[in-house]
């Protein structure tokens, strides 16, 4: 399931999260409707060009069609759009962007973006995030974790790799240390600007194991194009083992 060719192709990537299929359905509905409108318009357009081309002895005829009738297509499109918003769109928007899993039942991560890396801060077994302070930031401590805070003792920081358990929602709090970045996982259909000075919440629930690319979506400077990372989706056991290994590594230092 891991080879990139299987994940990415000539159309939208694999659907690797619970809401990917729903969002894709909406894309599909729109594109079929757009195609239909365009083809109908196109047929009429080509018909007019052929039928009403200038011919000697055939003068133009001034219109008789009523304006009210001409508004029928406009009305149909308006009804379609309102149907899409209120019946199809808003429920999904509410589910993806406004309904969040409970912290206790989710894998909670702080995502801290910087030029040009993604830092992932996990709370560790105690479930509490340690304090951070930008004045403590150094090459060995990219997010400025305050070691004097007891809550940070078992915290884990991972750079550009975001492990996430399969079949359990991940709740991420996004912040940025410098400029605006865009947290974007195409295979999950997840995207959210990461704006400094704000903390924004997002969630996703992976349904496939594997490595899924995170590509920064907002221009953030000269290396924007290689501000990349991966969500590594693993089973809960593998995830727990990864945490333990990280804690052991940390203890050694």
């Amino acid at each position: 399931m891991n080879a990139p060719e299987q994940l990415y192709g000539w159309w939208v990537p694999v659907k690797a999260s619970t809401y990917a299929a729903q969002l894709d359905t909406q894309l599909d509905i729109f594109h079929w409707a757009m195609l239909l409108i365009f083809v109908l318009w196109g047929i009429y357009f080509v018909y007019c060009l052929a039928h009403y081309r200038a011919r000697p002895g055939v003068p133009a005829v001034r219109g008789q069609l009523s304006v009210a009738k001409s508004m029928v297509p406009d009305g149909i499109i308006l009804v379609f759009e309102m149907f899409m918003i209120f019946v199809i769109g808003l429920p999904v928007w509410a589910q993806v962007m406004e309904t969040f899993p409970e912290e206790k039942k989710a894998n909670v991560v702080h995502v801290i973006a910087q030029q040009f890396a993604w830092n992932f801060h996990y709370p560790g077994p105690d479930g509490e995030f340690g304090r951070r302070d930008i004045h403590l930031v150094s090459s060995g401590n990219p997010i400025g974790l305050d070691d004097s805070d007891p809550a940070s003792k078992d915290d884990i920081v991972s750079i550009n790799t975001m492990p996430a358990p399969l079949g359990k929602p991940t709740l991420a709090y996004l912040t940025s240390m410098d400029v605006i970045h865009g947290f974007n996982v195409p295979a999950f259909r997840t995207k959210q600007d990461v704006t400094p000075g704000m903390r924004v919440r997002i969630w996703f629930e992976p349904i496939l194991r594997g490595k899924f690319e995170i590509a920064c979506a907002q221009l953030c400077g000269l290396a924007h194009y290689r501000m990349l990372g991966n969500v590594e989706v693993m089973t809960q056991e593998e995830f727990d083992a990864w945490i333990q290994k990280k804690l052991a590594d940390k203890a050694e230092l």
């Binding site: 757009m34 001034r62 769109g89 928007w93 865009g182 704006t195």
Partner: protein, 590 residues
């Protein structure tokens, strides 16, 4: 459609007692709206060309990343492209400058200032703009702004490189080129404001006798609404630009929040600002701005369609209402650019609804254009080809806007090349195509000579094909998740399957460049050597054609005009000719 015997006394135009002006006052520091219009036209076409060349270099990098740029590469300095290979900084500069130049120095001045200046006073029967001196000032301020903008490539660290949107705090903390961008923008905005005020006052006060609001050519309506948009929206960006300038030079922190680290060190500013504030200020202008990029072109297409089908436009009143509705609604949709900015999610619902609603008047305009063909006698002249192509091409641009304005689908499409493809369908295959049509259409009026029809058609077919070869694959890549503003598309795994399309697009872009050669040659050769033309070679009904010679003299019209009918009275039963000019009394026509 033959014979030109309708106009009697008005044919010769009017030189009023004017002191003879020297060359400089006639062609350089002129206050004549026609000369200023042509100055704007040539200048903005040069800016379009420069923005296009920037784009060609970027397209080369996208198709052949890391390869030296052919021909141009060797002339670029080390700080931009060592060994001819573009640096990421330089790519970002080109991107930001391409967007800025194309929008603010290319399409808008061409559609608004060039055509508006030249055509609007002629169509309403005015002898000049209301404030000719202000008009001249507007051009010269524009030129200074444009030159400052281009020269910013010479700043230390290069030109602005934070996108045409200049999002804070990236732009706040960027190299000095950004300061130059802000200063140049204030010049450009000032120039636009002077122009817009002029258009509004001229339309309100200088219409000929009998030129009622519902007898105005649709083009005039479009320019009038556009001018109102400019006056209401641009000051907001002007204010925003000044705030960003203060952030940069006076550490004012309007857009910089606390506790940032930049280049490894904490930013020594107390913070307290809000990056989203900039986005609101920017898009409050920039959404109406996209209609500024489009409405004048609606007007151009309408003029050409009525003339080329030899019948009145379908639904003139509906068109006027639609354009006014678009103008009004364009002020309450701006945050659809910010659905994923972190703005409150329930606020986005308001904007998704307004965005869907604003699509309806645009659909109405398109429907009217389409129905205008019905019953017509369609003459496939060069301007008409461009105007006709506008209809399906703008259709694609408009339709692809739907999934972007709709919040759930925008999550996936936001910041991908789908967005870029969508708005290039609107501004390139839409606006730019319409502007080309306008150039071919009004050229005889501007220079008293016609452009070559054959080369015009060659230009048309090559251009439309090449444009689709660029922007259709672009939307396709967007569907595959390829992001915009990427210096090296090979860096990201999810881009790999669609990479071959990059070569298709770049080759199409080179073809598009080559396709402009017949146009440029045709344009300049025809100015001096083209076939001499009469006052009204298209047998049109509006005053710009029917009531003054080509080119119109200083003062435009001889004597006072009286207007007797609506703008598009073609093929009126019982009239001698199939066009009935607005200013000719009924008894002379039947």
């Amino acid at each position: 459609m033959k014979g030109a015997a309708v106009h009697s006394q008005t044919q010769t135009g009017g030189h009023e007692a004017h002191p003879q002006l020297g060359f400089v006052r006639t062609y350089v520091f002129s206050t004549d709206h026609k000369v200023i219009g042509i100055q704007y036209m040539i200048t903005s076409m040069l800016f379009l060309l420069s923005g296009f060349f920037m784009m060609l270099m970027m397209r080369w990098q996208l198709a052949w990343p890391g390869q030296p740029i052919p021909i141009i590469g060797q002339f670029l300095p080390e700080t931009m492209a060592p060994g001819g290979v573009m640096l990421p900084e330089f790519y970002n500069q080109l991107g930001a400058m391409h967007g800025t130049i194309m929008v603010f120095l290319g399409i808008v001045p061409l559609g608004v200032a060039a055509f508006g200046n030249f055509v609007l006073p002629l169509q309403i029967g005015a002898k000049d703009m209301a404030f000719p001196f202000l008009n001249m000032l507007s051009y010269w301020i524009f030129l200074v702004g444009g030159i400052l903008m281009l020269s910013s490539f010479a700043m230390p660290g290069g030109a602005a490189q934070s996108g045409w949107t200049s999002y804070a705090p990236l732009a706040d903390l960027a190299p000095p080129g950004q300061t130059m961008w802000l200063i140049a923008m204030t010049f450009i905005i000032t120039s636009s404001l002077f122009g817009a005020i002029n258009f509004i006052v001229t339309t309100l006060n200088l219409r000929a006798r009998g030129m009622t609001w519902l007898r105005l050519p649709f083009f005039v309506w479009c320019q009038f609404v556009t001018a109102i948009l400019l006056v209401l929206a641009f000051p907001v960006l002007q204010g925003g630009a000044i705030l960003q300038l203060l952030d940069r030079v006076a550490k004012a922190n309007f857009f910089i929040p606390a506790n940032l680290i930049f280049g490894g060190a904490p930013v020594e500013q107390p913070g307290g600002g809000n990056p989203l504030l900039w986005q609101h200020l920017f898009w409050f202008l920039a959404h109406p701005e996209v209609y500024v990029l489009l409405l004048p072109e609606f007007g151009i297409v309408a003029e050409i369609l009525a003339n080329g089908t030899r019948k009145p436009l379908f639904g003139y009143f509906e068109l006027v209402v639609s354009v006014c509705a678009i103008g009004a609604l364009s002020f309450i949709v701006w945050a659809h650019h910010m659905f994923l900015s972190g703005m409150r999610t329930d606020v986005t619902k308001f904007f998704t609804v307004t965005t869907m609603i604003i699509s309806i008047p645009s659909v109405m305009v398109l429907t009217c254009f389409l129905l205008s063909l019905r019953g017509g006698s369609i003459h496939f002249t060069t301007p008409m080809l461009f105007a006709l192509a506008f209809i399906p091409m703008f259709g694609i641009g408009g339709l692809t806007g739907l999934p972007l304005g709709f919040t759930p689908t925008d999550i996936y499409l936001h910041d991908t090349l789908y967005v870029i493809g969508h708005f290039h369908y609107v501004v390139v295959t839409g606006s730019l195509i319409a502007l080309f049509g306008g150039l071919y259409y009004w050229f005889p009026k501007m220079f008293g000579r016609t452009m070559n029809e054959f080369w015009g058609k060659v230009h048309f077919w090559l251009t439309v094909t090449a444009m689709n070869g660029i922007f259709f694959p672009m939307m396709w890549q967007g569907m595959a998740g390829v992001l915009r503003r990427q210096y090296d598309p090979t860096a990201q795994i999810h881009n790999h399957p669609t990479l071959p399309l990059n070569k298709v697009m770049t080759i199409s872009a080179i073809c598009l460049a080559l396709a402009q050669i017949p146009f440029v040659l045709n344009f300049f050769i025809s100015i001096f050597k083209g076939k001499k033309t009469s006052a009204n070679p298209w047998n049109a009904t509006t005053l710009d054609w029917a009531a003054c010679p080509s080119p119109p003299p200083h003062g435009n019209f001889a004597g006072e005009l009286a207007i007797h009918r609506g703008p598009y009275e073609y093929s009126v039963p019982g009239h001698k000719t199939d066009w009935s000019p607005q200013h000719v009394p009924e008894k002379e026509l039947s």
